[in-house]
């Protein structure tokens, strides 16, 4: 099953996103981390995230912009400097429609930029479309998972 990593510090937003993803009907495993440093640790597989069976590399990352410790932009920059993660879609999921944030995110190589909607029903519908697109329609697997050693080779 494909893993989705949600990087979100706001409890209410995390709850709503998890609920919307669960109800999407698109099978996946959702992992939550609540700050920028934890996102980097998770992806690097360091510290408490060293066990890849419990904390698998994600097929999709939802990243908030405003986060404690490292910001979403800094996490994005960190990810895009690592060739082994080049095929992982990184989606900004934020309530910021500030054009400066949108521009910066794309300039740093974000895959897509989505606005959180405050209306739960709209968000449920959106989650289904978003997960269907990224987990079922778009091709982003380059089969790194079949040979974990290839990650280290990069």
């Amino acid at each position: 099953m494909k893993t989705v990593l949600l990087v979100e510090d706001n409890d209410d937003d995390a709850f709503l996103t998890k609920l919307a993803c669960e109800r999407s009907g698109i099978p996946h495993l959702l992992k939550l981390v609540t700050d920028g440093d934890a996102a980097v640790d998770y992806l690097a597989g360091t510290g408490v995230y060293a066990d890849r069976v419990i904390h698998p590399l994600p097929s999709l990352i939802f990243l908030d912009v405003l986060l404690p410790n490292r910001s979403g932009m800094e996490v994005l920059e960190w990810i895009r400097c690592r060739p082994e993660f080049v095929n992982i879609p990184v989606i900004m999921l934020t309530s910021s429609s500030d054009p400066a944030h949108i521009h910066q995110a794309y300039a740093l190589g974000v895959t897509s930029y989505l606005l959180k909607t405050a209306v739960p029903q709209e968000f449920m519908n959106a989650a289904r479309i978003i997960l269907k697109y990224w987990l079922q329609l778009n091709i982003s697997e380059i089969e790194l998972e079949s040979s974990p050693s290839s990650i280290a080779l990069n």
């Binding site: 060739p83 095929n87 794309y106 930029y113 978003i130 091709i139 982003s140 380059i142 089969e143």
Partner: protein, 154 residues
Amino acid sequence: MKNTILQVEDDPNDVFLLQYALIKVGVNDPVQVAGDGQEALDYLAGVGKFADRKAYPLPGLVLLDLKLPYVMGLEVLKWIRQQPGTPRIVIILSASGQKTDIAAAYHLGANGFLVKPAEAGKFQDMAKAIKDYWLTQNIPPAEVAGAGAPGGSR
């Protein structure tokens, strides 16, 4: 405001099938076609007849085939990512989905990768995915004033 879509495709059948499918799923945005890689570069750079941005507006979304005459799709993508100014959303539409193509496309900064269906009837599924995700959910990069678009209001 309507967002121009640039379809870079040398196969007239695929041009027709996708345009027909986009109309059938309710996409109203104008679609421009570049029939080979060089024409795509000329269009985006505003060379020759493409200097007329009223007739040939800069696209918000580029749908890029990989196997193209003169300049290959990956070269077009590389060129796009080297340009300053407004980043463009680039989705690869490939007939094959070869692992090396997928990896190279993401390495060069593609936003997405879809495999063109073998059956004509399935083009509507792909068109719907493009409409529902990229034209509806995704917040595109804002046009940067001065990048060929005179008189930005922001």
